[in-house]
């Protein structure tokens, strides 16, 4: 594996995402208790865990779609909880892919990919178009550039959503269960796009239930349960040889769905 190369790069650079003592509660319901996470440049971190464990909330706190209740989040040197930070500018550097795609339903694929480039980054129409076409080619959907989202399959919509996020040239990509809403036969295409992205050196935090993807692509796997990070480490160790009982229970349920208990 290429782990030696990435490790040496990791030692010199400070983490691109640094989460310290992150807390989040909705009313009296504490969803995140005390999360600490460093993600280095070019690293792929997969977050696994049962539903309701706070994985998605943690991810959404990184670009402050959810406002954290406490702790600190620094992305690319930007203190995301600093009230003086231009949060809109900061978010352009953090790409986000949602479980439900959230493509703009009234716009074509091309407009989906260019609207934020022109209106937020101030790129010219021609430049935005070039970027959009390049990213659409990356996800293998060049021929759909003039299609409306509603005419695409779920898997195609998700790949367009990835291309839309990439068109902002983000430093980090966040994926919130990107394949959970897909038909099984389209999951593979989306995972392949993400695999290519990881190989190209993109920093990625992926909340997922795809254990095989996590095992193969992730540099590190985080197991969350009840608002805590229960276990974290190299993918092969956490998934292949979990130390904590809760991780073992979860993995045996996910990997052998037919068995009870």
């Amino acid at each position: 594996m290429s782990s030696t190369a990435t490790t040496s790069a990791r030692e010199t650079a400070s983490p691109i995402i640094a989460i310290r003592n992150l807390k989040k509660s909705f009313g009296s319901n504490q969803v995140l208790t005390d999360i600490n996470l460093d993600v280095d440049k070019g690293e792929v971190v997969c977050v696994i865990g049962p539903s309701g464990s706070g994985k998605s909330t943690m991810l959404r706190c990184i670009n402050t779609l959810e406002t954290p209740t406490g702790g600190s989040i620094v992305v690319d040197g930007m203190d995301m909880m600093d009230l003086d930070l231009d949060i809109d500018a900061a978010r352009t550097r953090i790409g986000m892919v949602f479980q439900s795609f959230n493509l703009f339903a009234h716009l074509t694929v091309r407009e989906n990919l260019t609207i934020a480039q022109t209106k937020v980054l101030g790129r010219s129409k021609a430049e935005a178009n070039t970027v959009a076409e390049a990213n659409l080619a990356k996800v293998g959907l060049s021929e759909k550039i003039n299609a409306k989202p509603s005419s695409l399959s779920g898997g195609q919509q998700q790949r367009v959503a990835i291309a839309r996020a990439l068109s902002m040239d983000p430093d980090v990509m966040l994926f919130d269960e990107p394949t959970s809403a897909l038909d099984p036969e389209t999951v593979g295409d989306v995972l392949q796009v993400m695999r290519n992205l990881a190989e190209a050196g993109m920093t990625m935090v992926v909340v997922t239930h795809e254990m095989e993807f996590a095992r193969q692509v992730a540099d590190r796997v985080l197991f969350m349960d009840g608002g805590y990070v229960v276990e974290s480490g190299p993918a092969r160790e956490v998934i292949g040889n979990p130390q904590e009982q809760r991780t073992k229970d979860f993995l045996s349920r996910v990997l052998n769905p037919g068995q009870l208990g």
Binding site: L65, F98, N102, L103, F104, A105, A116, L121
Partner: protein
């Protein structure tokens, strides 16, 4: 044969005997019954029409509502003056109402509590008030309350119609905005759009498709509400359809002008109804963004 299959058959033939004795009634299928019931409904309808036609005193009716000479006399002024004024009043009121409604709807959805209260109070107040009262207050109440306060007639009508329609339209717009999935805003915000830019470029265009049919409906209602302008009184040039109709009835001592202006209102509203149906077919049922 096994005993179970025999009892099974016995169970089936059992109820078949009373069914056979009731053959004439039971023979009518569901479809035939529906056909018969529809036939009865048509018969009743025709009967009512015939009775009305026989009972009505046609010569008197035609004499008071259908005098062709009086109707012809109203043209072309009823079109070039009154119909035109009705359209102008309605259009001005609608544009103002739409502008107020958009602001009020956004206030209603604001995270600022005071805005939400003000918007709610505004909507409840003007939605509950009869249009007639709004016209009376605008036309006669304000000049009394603020001596020297004098607006042109057209502006008073525009404001009154705007206020009357805005409360309903604000609720329609609010519902349209809330019908746009939350994920659309989240995607826009995560691409770095401010909340106001996300509202303008992502949410409102999608909400527009949802609220266009009900807004057309509101336009029809407003066309009819514009008739209340007659209570403000007006110059001969400023009369809309209802005012002209009243004046002509007094002039001619005949009710035919009512029929003429009724037809004129329909000339405006029927195309709008048609437009509303077309828009509904185009946007209403389909998922926003569908081809």
């Amino acid at each position: 044969m096994s005993p179970t299959s025999e009892t099974g058959r016995g169970g089936q033939t059992g109820p078949a005997i009373p069914l056979a004795t009731a053959t004439p009634k039971a023979k009518m299928s569901k479809r035939q019954k529906a056909k018969l019931s529809r036939g009865i409904q048509y018969a009743i309808l025709i009967l009512i029409a015939v009775v009305i036609a026989l009972v009505a005193d046609w010569p008197t009716l035609i004499d008071s509502f259908g005098r062709v000479d009086i109707a012809v006399d109203m043209f072309p002024e009823v079109i070039t003056g009154a119909l035109k004024n009705t359209v102008i009043f309605t259009a001005l009121g609608f544009v103002l109402g739409l502008a107020i409604a958009l602001v009020v709807a956004l206030m209603r959805l604001s995270s600022v509590g005071v805005y939400r209260w003000l918007a709610t109070i505004y909507i409840e107040f003007f939605r509950g008030l009869p249009a007639l009262v709004v016209f009376l207050v605008m036309g006669f109440g304000l000049p009394v309350a603020f001596p020297g306060f004098r607006l042109p007639q057209l502006v008073i009508i525009m404001i009154a119609l705007g206020l009357v329609s805005s409360a309903y339209m604000a609720e329609t717009i609010r519902a349209g905005i809330q019908a746009v999935p939350k994920g659309q805003v989240e995607a826009a915000r995560s691409l770095g759009m401010s909340s106001s830019r996300a509202m303008i470029t992502i949410v409102l265009p999608q909400a527009m498709r949802i609220i266009l049919p009900p807004l057309t409906n509101e336009l029809i209602l407003l066309t009819k509400d514009s008739s209340l302008a007659y209570i403000l009184g007006s110059s001969v040039d400023g009369r809309e359809l209802a005012a002209l109709g009243r004046a002509e009835i007094v002039n001619s001592a005949n009710l035919t002008p009512f029929i003429v202006i009724a037809v004129c209102y329909l000339i405006i509203t029927i195309p709008l109804s048609y437009l509303s149906r077309v828009l509904e077919r185009k946007y209403g049922s389909a998922e926003p963004g569908a081809k």
